[in-house]
Amino acid sequence: MSSAPERRALERGRVPAQGNADTLPKLLVRNYRKYGTDNVAIREKNMGIWESYTWADYYETVRALSLAFLELGLRPGDRVSIIGENKPHVYWFEVAAQAAGAAVVGIFADCTPPEVQHYAGHSGSRFAVCQDQEQVDKFLEIKDKLPDLEKIIYWDPKGLWKYHDPDLLSFDRMLEIGRPAAQKNPDLFEECVANTKADDLAVFFYTSGTTGLPKAGMVTHRSLIGMAEGLNEVNDFQENEEYLSFLPIAWIAEQLFVACTLIYAMRTNFPEKPETVQQNIREIGPEVVFFGPRLWEGLIRMIQVKMLDSSWMHRLFFNLALKIGYKMADLRMKGLRPSSSQALLFNLAHRLVFRNLRDNLGLLKTRVGYSGGGAVSPDVLRYFLAIGVTVKQLYGSSEVGIVTCHRDDHIKPETCGPPMSDVEIKVSAEGEIIIKTPNLFSGYFKQPEKTAEKVIDGWYYTEDFGHIDKDGQLVVMDRMEDLVTIAGGKKFSPQFCEIRLRFSPFIKDVLAVGRPDQYFIGALINIELDNVGHWAETNKIPYTTFTDLSQKPQIIELIRKEIAKINEILPEHSQIRKFINLHKEFDPDEAEMTRTRKLRRTFVEDRFKDLLDGIFGETREVEVVSQITYRDGRTGTTKSTITVNQV
């Protein structure tokens, strides 16, 4: 049953490979002693070339920053907010703050000033570390409302040359403070590191806030390292394995890999910019990647569209290869061995098609890909397995860490895999998933009453509805609160429909809605502008705006067909009977989604109440006047006529 790495790990027992290095800063010191300048720890694309930092560089930078933090008055138990995109500096500042005994609060780079204010204010951060002018501006704007904030530190000086705020400090200035301090007192840094304890708080994670104000889950070094060890049991990470850092740092998954890369001395690669990831990933050829479901879906959409664009010959070969790939995927998912002819065919398909395809995606060397942070369509996992990329689904949260993960030769795409070795999962009488894990978080900051609501007798109540299947794998259906009993008494899970609809290249997002007094399901469809636009172009359908395109009869027909196709695999009571092509995209800037791109269901349902009433009523057309908030903060209104469509 268990895979090779799993067996190896079991034979070894849970060896704490890191000895007594039980915090992230201690691990850094250990790696520095072990690898020094021999191994590259971090690579970053900067000014068009890849720059490398060895473990010694990593150590020295962190030492300087940490001592600078001390000089500036950072004390154990403090909090430091970090906001920015993935850059080595994030890792440096984080470990530096932790070495000084502080905990780190990660903030999503695209958060608005009020959001930032909540995170930095609620956590009582005394220091804010910002990437660039954009983030510094946010903090300067809200500085007066943050009584605990003392210094704002930034690392990219572009545009900040003429800022003279006394509380503003550059990365270089930090090094100027820290380096002499290191010379004056060479042992101080390691003394501080030695003082860090496994039970110190390492990171604060703010819940994505699908409901109410975000709460801060506090996670210790012990929990982070425990999660990383658990994941390693399943996947056996190797020294110098290439990891692509791309997930937001405010998210548990990325923090998990901050820990993994330190524990297993993996190499972290930082893309030049979020926009250049697709180019950079090819240059790196990462062996371990972790993307959210949206990104995996996006990659498939990209393949599908490029195939539509290619010649009939290419399409023929591609479709043939995909058929072979799917067959192979089905075998692999069941842990079966292919016959020699099947293996030969797959090898051929790999050489002719998949190798190039994976190379273009930058996934040629990928040993394992993870998807987490939301449900992913089983079709997505199957698709990637078919082209030869193993993508495993993880289930977890910042409160409980990684709870389940697929094992190599037993990937059931509709499940989240079996629990990690030290995690217990039960399902309550109401169908709620509850979890017991040694890596449990330390409660919500300043909100013990909220913690008590979620953790009862050591069991964490996830508010997720699901069950454990006959193979012991966890199936997560939906959020408890999102389940609806529709007329006729059947339970309807919106998420189950939505993730399957999102597999369509033309559907970017969906809100599936069931109502207690209705027998059918309605959906608001957010069309995928690029792909639908492309389709319209090839079919000679002129259009002007997103709204115009979405309401074209041919596009409605296109979406209708897509829905009809997916309806076939949905249980009858969950099939979508009426839908509307939304006139705009769901947007986190308008609070319709969380920063991790999850729909804020109640909010969206409320906002588009008119449209939903249209679906569940008799109307054929709905007039909408919508408020638009532009990126620059201005608002405007648009008026459009939206048609309600039958499937």
Partner: protein
């Protein structure tokens, strides 16, 4: 104001095309480190004036002095070496080359190696290419063009081509930068980006920038001084706040409200 150093002086510039008078007795100064906006209705002579400065047109009367040197008769290539660099209203780039190659091509005035070294890419050629690539990469960083570095210019959207055009002008390491309608045809977000880039450039390089622009909001936001042209004549000159309330300007250009 007057204590500041004059970088460039247009003195009594007159330009005729046959009987059409494009510019009539236009005089103004450009000071070190300022952003000067040239505004005016269509056909007021803004681009003609820019062409006189960059050397595409030679005024029949009057003079253009740059760093106290009369350059009225100097060909454009020589002016580029003096440090006068410009962007074009209609974007003039090598459309078949990548964004990066366009910027590198603009560096040719700083390349000294010969064909042999270039052909085998050793010694001086290698060193110079690397040095120049570094300069170009700094521009790419400044203008946030990492994503399009290796893309063919032809395939880029308009807003980005404008940005490459600006990058090309910057690659010449200008001491006076002329921007001909850098924001024409852009949406709000692109305009804001461009405005930010212009301010960044001015902040890092401390060079005077002359900008021809139609978008009043932008001009009023970023320019230190404004020169207003109408039918080839200078109508007014002054800080944006004064220009905004100048009766003549309102009448000719901003429209009566």
């Amino acid at each position: 104001m007057e204590s500041r150093k004059v970088k460039m002086r247009a003195d009594n510039v007159c330009l005729n095309f046959g009987k059409v008078q494009a510019l009539a007795e236009v005089s103004f100064d450009v000071y070190e480190g300022e952003i000067l906006a040239l505004i005016g209705p269509n056909g007021a002579g803004k681009t003609s004036l820019l062409n006189c400065i960059s050397g595409f047109y030679h005024p029949q009367l009057g003079s253009i002095c740059y760093e106290e040197q009369d350059i009225s008769r100097m060909p454009p290539a020589k002016r580029a070496r003096l440090g006068i660099s410009r962007t074009f209203q209609n974007i003039e780039l090598y459309t078949g080359l990548t964004a990066l190659d366009n910027l590198m091509a603009a560096r040719h005035i700083y390349l000294k190696y010969g064909p042999v070294a270039g052909g085998f890419f050793f010694g001086r050629a290698r060193g110079e290419e690397i040095r120049n690539r570094y300069v170009v990469e700094q521009i790419i960083d400044l203008l946030e063009m990492e994503e399009v570095r290796y893309q063919i210019v032809q395939a880029l959207p308009y807003g980005l081509r404008k940005r490459v055009d600006l990058g090309r002008a910057l690659a010449l390491e200008p001491k006076l930068l002329l921007l001909d309608e850098p924001m024409a045809g852009m949406n709000v977000e692109e305009k804001e980006d461009m405005a930010r880039f212009i301010l960044d450039i001015q902040e890092i390089k401390h060079i005077p920038i002359i900008i021809v622009e139609h978008d009043m909001d932008v001009v009023m936001d970023i320019a230190h001084r404004v020169v207003v042209l109408d039918f080839g004549r200078k109508l007014a000159e002054g800080p944006p706040s004064a220009i905004k309330h100048d009766e003549q300007v309102i009448k000719a250009y901003l429209g009566q409200q």
